[in-house]
């Protein structure tokens, strides 16, 4: 009896302690400082003017960004940049809601095609209002053509790039040697022919290595002399004959390798990997079109891999050196409270006024330079020396023939339709000609709808 009473008392005690602990935990959670409060409390320079900076990087990239912010904060004593990572598409939504509610960040790093829509709606500050005449002259003189093109909308600069992307072919010299190919092909046609020799199958006829994985249609069409937009006449050029030639070539290549075959082969690979899982590392592709960021990742995750890079070869009669580029850019909201501080930070990071100092950031992030002044900084030269494969991309980004996303408010719609008709054509569901026609029809129908609804286009 006594034992049962002790056991009962003990249970009651345990129950009481657990209940009190849970109640305290709940109260603690409720009163725990929120993120903003913590940020304020943890500010390193509380006496300075705060500049709120949102960006979309996460994981290892976030560390690089945080380091740049730290460096900036140490470099002067007027502003404190406070960085906040808002990854993915939620960043755009958060920005829009913040801007509409009168509480946007002071500056935001973006890579989504947002400038036309946001600029059209008056959400962004044109940099022409922030730059001094000297700074404007410096930007116009030094920045590569693509850098000036990426952030422009209706003759104004709304985005200053802090990193530009370029594409090239990554290839395995060993695969070339095995196929008896002495040097990397000089033309698109040669590459397509040679890739057949580098493609491998197992005893069941299943693909074990793809000779050549081209980039998407939108990335490749410029090499054929095409593109989605003519920046000189400010016109969409969806049905440019070169676009059709490009798609025909991509379809022919895919049909040769077998759509179903390639689809199955790729579905077993971690094609989305941005790290050591990239199938190229394991030799699943002999040659593949990809961006400059792979160079740094390969150095980190596969330092012993023997690989090389080369410009994507243009077809005969095409446009060598042409290409498609996107990038990371800084935008400053119209309703931001600290535009001067935001612009100071953009200048610092982009290297507009001190390219040698900024070169370090581009090295840290494995980003392409915005001007020859950054590219020729000793630290950047050393980076290229240590990563010779990077030179291909540095050369590519200098090209005056790099094209960017069409600067129209329905950019995302166009991208979706381009991807859709490309997919249909590659699957053999429709001919390349029908794909181009469908793209043109769907986009022009959308333009007509927008006109009817009173949009500006």
């Amino acid at each position: 009896m006594a034992g049962e009473r002790v056991s009962g008392n003990l249970k009651r005690w345990i129950r009481t302690i657990v209940a009190v602990a849970m109640a305290l935990a709940l109260v603690g959670l409720y009163f725990a400082p929120q993120r903003a409060t913590r940020e304020t409390a943890l500010r390193k320079y509380p006496n300075r003017i705060p500049v709120r900076f949102w960006h979309m990087w996460s994981a290892e990239w976030k560390d690089v960004v945080d380091h740049i912010v730290d460096q900036y904060n140490k470099s002067q004593d007027k502003y404190e940049v406070i960085a906040l990572s808002v990854p993915g598409t939620s960043g755009d939504t958060k920005f829009l809601l913040g801007a509409m509610g009168g509480d946007p960040p002071d500056v935001m790093a973006q890579w989504n095609p947002v400038i036309p829509t946001w600029a059209e709606g008056g959400l962004l500050t044109p940099y022409e209002e922030l730059m001094s005449p000297e700074e404007k002259a410096l930007f116009d003189r030094d920045a590569y053509p693509i850098v000036k093109r990426i952030g422009r909308y209706k003759d104004k600069t709304y985005g200053i790039p802090i990193g530009v992307n370029a594409n090239a072919v990554f290839y395995l010299p060993k695969a070339l040697r095995e196929a008896g190919i002495e040097q990397f092909p000089k033309t698109w046609e040669e590459l397509v022919t040679d890739s057949a020799k580098m493609t491998k199958y197992d005893s069941h006829g299943q693909l074990t290595r793809l000779g050549f994985l081209p980039g998407p249609w939108a990335v490749t069409m410029a090499l054929f002399g095409g593109g989605l937009y003519d920046f000189k006449s400010n016109q969409l050029t969806l049905d440019n004959p070169a676009n059709l030639r490009c798609l025909e070539s991509l379809v022919a290549l895919r049909q040769r390798d077998g759509y179903e075959q390639v689809q199955r082969f790729q579905s077993g690979l971690n094609t989305q990997s941005f790290a050591g899982g990239w199938p190229f590392i394991a030799g699943y592709y002999a040659a593949a079109v990809d961006g400059q960021w792979r160079v740094q990742q390969l150095a980190k995750y596969a330092p012993d891999l023997e690989y090389a890079t080369a410009p994507i070869p243009a077809p005969l009669g095409g446009a060598p050196g042409a290409g498609f580029s996107g990038g990371n850019f800084m935008v400053i909201p119209r309703s931001g409270k600290q535009k001067a501080g935001a612009w100071d930070f953009v200048k610092y990071w982009s290297g507009l006024t001190n390219p040698e100092r900024a070169a370090q950031f581009y090295v840290d992030g494995g980003w392409l330079p915005l001007s020859d002044k950054i590219a020729s900084a000793p630290i950047y030269k050393k980076y290229i020396h240590d990563h010779p494969q990077f030179q291909t991309f540095v050369d590519a980004v200098r090209s005056p023939d790099l094209t960017a996303q069409p600067p129209v408010a329905y950019q995302v719609f166009i991208n979706d339709k381009v991807t859709k008709v490309e997919d249909l054509a590659l699957r053999g569901e429709i001919s390349p000609k029908a794909a181009v026609q469908q793209l043109s029809e769907e986009v022009h129908r959308e333009i007509a709808r927008r006109k009817e609804l009173g949009y500006d286009e």
């Binding site: 008056g122 179903e260 997919d423």
Partner: protein
């Protein structure tokens, strides 16, 4: 103030937090979206009245909208009945008085409490045509499985198949319904000489029809709003074969910044759901038995 008024007021004060939340976060957006559906609104600029242009464009000029409607109806017309059949069958099996039945019930219910995103991520691997579990099993029988999620002929049906994974939720409701059937009905049926099949078709299923009706209505509403799995697994592809209504609505709203158009879509969806639900309620007199 008389006692009745005071009592009413006290009641309203107690429900005021919920009432305020409802008015602010449900009722007002509901009314506002009706207005926005008649405007051109891109979030960035103020909404501008354009009359019925959004509705006109959707109905007469938008192939993707028509395709999204068709995909959603096709999915609902297969996934809902299949879910009901699977749920009822499972509930019947798990209604048996066998040893360890509570463990079985838990096992079948467990998948429905796994977060949708986690289930979806797992199914992306299970349905992988090269290294996935399903094709691995098919291969053992000499069958080359399809590219489930990248083949337009199979993608939608893959999502239907995945939907069965979460059938445990409705199974529990069916099970509760089965437990509610009075035993004297079975006793009377046995006395009348009814076999197992007759008892199932003449007693169990008719008595279960209120629960089936409930799950049918909820299922139709749920599938008309189907989004997460398709957003994660297929993004509407391949070839728009899984571009569900809600997915297209999301794209229009947040990716194309076309809130007016998306609001019009939301209202069409609302009216469609109301119409189908109303139709189902009309039919219930003919097949739903409420006992008593």
């Amino acid at each position: 103030m008389n006692a009745r008024t005071r009592k009413d007021l006290t009641g309203y004060v107690f429900i005021a937090p919920w009432l305020l939340g409802f008015l602010t976060f449900t009722a007002w957006p509901f009314v506002r979206s009706a207005y926005l559906s008649f405007t051109r609104y891109d979030i960035v600029r103020p909404a501008r009245w354009i009359g019925a242009a959004n509705y006109r464009s959707l109905i007469t000029n938008d192939d993707t909208f028509r395709n999204a409607c068709w995909v959603t109806v096709k999915f609902a017309s297969v996934a809902v009945p299949l879910g009901i059949v699977a749920g009822v069958s499972l509930a019947l099996l798990l209604n048996a008085n066998v040893r360890g039945i509570t463990v079985y019930r838990t096992v079948f219910f467990l998948p429905s409490i796994v977060p949708t995103v986690a289930t979806t991520a797992i199914f992306m691997w299970i349905l992988n045509p090269k290294i996935g579990l399903v094709n691995g099993l098919l291969e053992k029988f000499g069958i080359v499985g399809p590219a489930w999620l990248t083949d337009p002929k199979w993608a939608l049906w893959s999502l239907v198949m995945m939907g069965l994974w979460g059938v445990g939720n409705s199974m529990v409701i069916y099970l509760a319904g089965l437990k509610d059937i009075p035993t004297y009905l079975y006793e009377a049926a046995i006395v009348d000489g009814a076999g197992a099949w007759t008892r199932l078709t003449r007693v169990t299923l008719p008595m279960l029809t209120p629960v089936i009706f409930f799950n049918l209505v909820m299922g139709v509403i749920g599938t008309f709003q189907y989004f997460t799995q398709a957003y994660i697994m297929t993004k509407g592809g391949p070839e728009d074969s899984t571009r569900f209504y809600a997915l297209y609505l999301f794209d229009r709203a947040w990716r194309y910044a076309d809130m007016g158009y998306a609001s019009a879509m939301a209202w069409i969806l609302f009216i469609a759901i109301m119409a189908v639900t109303g139709l189902l309620f009309k039919t219930q007199k003919k097949w739903v038995h409420y006992g008593g």
